[in-house]
C-alpha cells in the first residue's frame, strides 16, 4: 500500500542531484514504527545525491518515528525540531543528516508567502 512516507522516499530516490546537499555526506537510517512493525530505510547522502535503500545497513545516525508522524511530516504538517523537543521522535548519532532530510520536506500547505510587490522591479543583468 502506498503511504505518504513511501511516496516521499520513492520521490527522493528519483529526485536526482540536489546542489545544496553537496556539503553533506553520510548515511541516515529511518526507523518508521507502525504498531509492532518497524520499517527500515537507509538514506545515503553523497555529493548532493541521495540513495534510498529499504534495508538496515550501518548508519551514522538513526531517526526513529511513528510512521503516522512521518506521513504527516512529508506533507509539511510536522516540523522536525519541535517533534524532537516534544519527545515524539528520537535521533541517535548526529543531527546533521536529519536536519538535511527535514530540509527536503515540503513546507506547510496553504502558506501566503512574502507579499508580492505590485511593481516588482526586474533584476538588472
Amino acid at each position: 500500500m502506498t503511504t505518504p512516507a513511501r511516496s516521499f522516499l520513492d520521490g527522493l530516490a528519483q529526485r536526482g542531484h540536489v546542489p545544496w546537499l553537496e556539503a553533506e555526506h553520510g548515511r541516515l537510517r529511518l526507523e518508521l514504527v507502525d504498531g509492532d512493525c518497524v520499517q527500515l530505510w537507509t538514506l545515503a547522502f553523497e555529493n548532493g545525491d541521495v540513495r534510498v535503500d529499504h534495508d538496515d545497513s550501518d548508519a551514522d545516525a538513526v531517526l526513529r518515528a511513528d510512521r503516522a508522524w512521518f506521513d504527516r511530516a512529508v506533507v509539511g504538517e510536522e516540523k522536525f525540531m519541535p517533534a524532537v523537543l516534544r519527545g515524539e521522535i528520537s535521533v541517535d548519532g548526529g543531527y546533521g543528516l536529519v536536519v538535511q532530510l527535514s530540509r527536503l520536506l515540503p513546507g506547510p500547505p496553504g502558506q501566503s508567502g512574502p507579499p508580492k510587490a505590485p511593481n516588482r522591479r526586474r533584476r538588472s543583468g
Binding site: Y95, V99, P108, N119, R121
Partner: protein, 686 residues
C-alpha cells in the same frame, strides 16, 4: 532575587543564584538552573538546623565554577561562627556541588543539613510573559535520588538529584543527619542532572560531544583557548584585563547546537538569549575573527545547515533565508512560539555571505567557500527574490506571523525602534538603511568568491553590476539632502523616508555603500553631541522625539554597534573619530569589571561620569564580549590583503604601546605593534 547574583554558564546551561549559592526563583525572574531554555531548578536552599547561611565571600573560580564561603545565620559585623560551610559548584550536565561543613569548636556537633529543592520547569518565555504551565509536575523519590519531573504529552523533563552521602530524601529535598568531631569536616557531593525522557528512557538533555565534560576538561580547554589567542601587551593596564575577560566570556558563551557536533559557536547572551541567534552569532564571530577564527567556521556550517528551504508563514521562513533564533523549550516544542527555528531577520542572510568572504580572507580556507557555494547563492537569491517586498530593489521586512513574529527584523528588533523624527511609527514593509549596506557588501564580496572559487565570472559580473546599481539608488533614495544624513528607513507601501537620525547611518560606512562626498557629513553627525554621548554613539539622537536615554533601541549606547561604526570610520579615513569611539567604549568597560554589557544608558558622559547600565541588559552578551576584540583590530588597523596581514595602527595617545602577538591567519602567525600618537583627551577621566 534581591542583591547581587552569582552566575555560572557554559553554552546554554547556566545557574543564577544569590551570594550564598541559594536559589529562590519567582515565576518572573530568570534565576535558577537553566538548560535548553528550561528552568530545571527554581528552589535550591541549603540550611543547617533550619538556619539559612550568609556569605562571607564568593570566588568566581572559572566561568563554570564558583566557591561560596558561608556561615550560619545573618551576617553581622562581628562573626564568631563555630561552623562554616564551603559550597563549590561546577557546571556539568546541570551542576555538581561539593558541600563541606567544618566544625571549628572544641566540641563535637550534631547537625541537620538540609537541601530544599524544587523546579517549576518554566520555559524562558513563560518567565518573560508570565504564562502558566499546561503540564503536570511530579516529584518522586526513587533509588536513593530525588527526581523532579514535568510532563506534557511526550514532553518530559526531569531534574535528578543525588548525594554521595546517606540522606533522607523526600519530595522536596534531602536531609543529612551529621555528626562532626571538633576541628573536623563533613562533606558531600550533590549532583543535579538535567534530563529528558524519551520512550521511557531517561537521557541527559544535551547535544554533541561537548556534553559531559568534567571541570578538569573544561579547565584544560579554557587554557588551550587562551593559549591559541594572540597575546596582548599594552601600556594601558585596563586593556589587558578587558582583553582577558573578553576571551574568557567568549569561551563561556560557546555552545554546541544540535548540528555542530564537537564544534561550538557563540550563544547570544545571559540570561535571555542563551541560544542560537543568527545575527548575534555572525556579528560575534566576525568581531572575534582575528582572535578566535574557529568560531566563524562553525557558525557558517551551522547556519548553512539550518538555511531556510520552504515558505512557512509561522516561522517567517523563505528558501535561502538564514535563521534568526532557535529555542529548545516547551513553547517552541508545542508551537506556541515559532523558534524551531524562527527566520524573522532581514540582515542575517546578507551577513552570512559577508561572513563567508571575511573568513576566507583571514583563513585562506577555499575549500569551505566551495563547500558552501550553494548556501551563499541561495542567500543571495533570497535577497533578490524574497526580501524585496516593496518592489523597489531594497531588502525590506514585514512579518507574516502576526501573533508571535517580530515586527522589526533588523538588529533593533524592539517594537518602537524604527520611528520618524516626530516619534510616529512608520508602516510596513520597512527597509532600514543598514540592510541595504549588508546587501551591497554581500554582493561585492560574493563577486570575489564567484570569480576566485566558484569559477563563475558571469555571476561575479552580475553581482558587481547589481551592487553598483544598488549604491547609486541607495545614495539617491535614502539621502535626506536638507539634513545631510541617510534616512533610517524607507517604509510603507510607497517607501517613504523615515527621517530619524540614528546610529544606523554609522553601519553604512563599513560596507562602502556611502558616497565619498557624503562620508564627512555622516561622520560629523556620528560625532555630534546629539549622537555621541562621550561613551559611544547612541542608537537614536537626542534631538528625536522618541529619544530616551534608557530606551532599549531609542537612545542607549550599544557597544557592538559602536565597534562596527568605528571600523567604518576607519575605512573612510576618519581615524581619529574611530579612535574616539574606541576610547569611549573601552573606557566604559572597567566600570563593569572589564565586561561590557549589552547596552548602557545614553546620558551624556559629563553628566553621569560613569556609564549607567541599561536596567535589564544581558551580561555577558556575545557581541558586547567580542566588541573589545573588534576595537583592537580597528585601532591596530588589521586587515588581510592577499596572503598578507596589513597593520596600520591609529591609536589614542593614552593607550601607549600595544603589541598583539601571534595573530593567526593565512599568513601563518604575525605580530602587530602600535604606539598611541593621537591625543584623545576630551571627557576622559583619569
Amino acid at each position: 532575587m534581591n542583591g547581587r547574583t552569582v552566575k555560572l554558564l557554559d553554552g546554554n546551561t547556566f545557574v543564577v543564584s544569590d551570594q550564598s549559592g541559594d536559589i529562590e526563583a519567582t515565576p518572573t525572574d530568570p534565576t535558577g538552573l537553566f538548560a535548553f531554555d528550561t528552568r530545571f531548578l527554581s528552589t535550591w536552599v541549603l540550611t543547617l538546623d533550619g538556619t539559612r547561611l550568609s556569605p562571607l565571600s564568593v570566588d568566581d573560580l572559572q566561568y563554570f565554577q564558583s566557591r561560596f564561603f558561608l556561615v550560619p545565620g545573618v551576617a553581622t559585623v562581628y562573626v564568631d561562627a563555630k561552623l562554616s560551610v564551603v559550597r563549590q559548584r561546577s557546571l556539568r550536565n546541570g551542576f555538581v556541588e561539593d558541600v563541606a561543613v567544618a566544625n571549628h569548636s572544641k566540641d563535637p556537633v550534631d547537625l541537620r543539613v538540609r537541601v530544599e529543592a524544587g523546579s517549576d520547569f518554566a520555559d524562558l518565555f513563560d518567565i518573560k510573559n508570565s504564562t502558566p504551565k499546561r503540564g503536570t509536575h511530579l516529584n518522586q523519590v526513587e533509588d536513593g535520588q530525588l527526581v523532579l519531573g514535568y510532563q506534557r504529552e511526550a514532553f518530559h523533563r526531569e531534574t535528578v538529584i543525588r548525594a554521595d552521602q546517606a540522606a533522607q530524601i523526600d519530595e522536596h529535598g534531602l536531609t543529612f543527619q551529621v555528626h562532626i568531631e571538633p576541628q573536623q569536616r563533613w562533606t558531600t557531593q550533590l549532583s543535579v542532572t538535567t534530563t529528558a525522557r524519551r520512550r521511557g528512557k531517561r537521557l541527559p538533555l544535551v547535544f554533541g560531544s561537548r556534553a559531559n565534560r568534567t571541570s578538569q576538561d573544561m579547565e584544560a580547554e579554557l587554557k588551550q583557548w587562551h593559549s591559541q589567542a594572540p597575546k596582548l601587551r599594552s601600556d594601558w593596564e585596563p586593556l589587558k584585563q578587558i582583553y582577558e575577560r573578553s576571551l574568557t566570556d567568549l569561551a563561556a558563551l560557546r555552545f554546541s547546537p544540535e548540528v555542530a557536533e564537537a564544534d561550538s559557536m557563540p550563544a547570544a547572551g545571559l540570561p535571555w538569549f542563551m541560544s542560537m541567534f543568527g545575527r548575534d552569532a555572525i556579528v560575534t564571530s566576525l568581531q572575534a575573527i582575528a582572535f578566535v577564527p574557529e568560531l566563524t567556521a562553525t557558525t557558517i556550517r551551522v547556519l548553512a545547515r539550518w538555511q531556510g528551504s520552504v515558505i512557512d508563514d509561522f516561522r517567517d521562513e523563505d528558501p535561502g533565508r538564514i535563521l534568526h533564533e532557535m529555542r529548545y523549550g516547551e513553547t517552541a516544542a508545542f508551537g506556541e512560539q515559532p523558534h524551531s527555528p524562527y527566520y524573522g531577520a532581514a540582515d542575517s542572510t546578507p551577513l552570512f555571505v559577508i561572513m563567508l568572504d571575511e573568513y576566507e580572507q583571514w583563513s585562506g580556507d577555499g575549500a569551505l567557500v566551495r563547500r558552501f557555494e550553494h548556501a551563499a547563492r541561495a542567500a543571495l537569491n533570497w535577497i533578490d527574490e524574497y526580501a524585496d517586498l516593496m518592489g523597489n530593489g531594497y531588502i525590506s521586512y514585514q512579518r507574516r506571523n502576526e501573533a508571535t513574529g517580530l515586527e522589526n527584523q533588523c538588529w533593533k528588533d524592539s517594537w518602537d525602534s524604527i520611528c520618524y523624527r516626530d516619534g510616529r511609527l512608520p508602516g510596513f514593509p520597512r527597509a532600514t538603511c543598514e540592510l541595504q549596506s549588508w546587501a551591497y557588501s554581500a554582493k561585492i564580496r560574493a563577486a570575489r568568491l564567484a570569480r576566485e572559487f566558484w569559477n563563475d565570472p558571469d555571476y561575479a559580473d552580475r553581482l558587481e553590476r547589481e551592487a553598483a546599481d544598488l549604491k547609486v539608488r541607495f545614495n539617491r533614495d535614502f539621502w535626506i539632502a536638507d539634513r545631510q544624513y541617510y534616512a533610517l528607513a524607507l517604509a510603507g507601501p510607497e517607501g517613504d523616508q523615515v527621517d530619524a537620525l540614528s546610529s544606523n547611518i554609522g553601519l553604512l560606512l563599513w560596507s562602502g555603500i556611502v558616497d565619498e562626498d557624503k562620508a564627512a557629513a555622516v561622520a560629523g553627525h556620528l560625532m555630534s553631541p546629539e549622537l555621541f554621548s562621550g561613551w559611544g554613539v547612541r542608537t537614536l539622537a537626542t534631538t528625536e522625539a522618541s529619544y530616551n536615554p534608557v530606551g532599549y533601541h531609542v537612545g542607549t549606547v550599544w557597544p557592538f554597534d559602536n565597534a562596527i561604526i568605528a571600523r567604518g570610520l576607519r575605512r573612510y579615513g576618519f581615524h581619529k573619530d574611530a579612535a574616539r569611539i574606541a576610547t569611549g567604549i573601552l573606557d566604559a568597560a572597567p566600570y563593569f569589571d572589564g565586561r561590557l554589557p549589552e547596552a548602557f544608558a545614553g546620558y551624556p558622559r559629563e553628566e553621569t561620569r560613569y556609564p549607567v547600565q541599561y536596567p535589564t541588559a544581558c551580561s555577558p552578551q556575545a557581541w558586547s564580549t567580542s566588541t573589545p576584540l573588534s576595537l583592537l583590530r580597528t585601532l591596530l588597523g588589521l586587515d588581510p590583503s592577499g596572503d598578507h596581514l596589513v597593520i596600520n595602527p591609529a591609536l589614542p595617545e593614552h593607550i601607549g604601546h600595544i603589541e598583539l602577538l601571534d595573530i593567526r591567519g593565512r599568513w601563518g602567525h604575525m605580530d602587530a605593534y602600535g604606539r598611541g600618537r593621537m591625543p584623545i583627551t576630551a571627557q576622559r577621566m583619569q
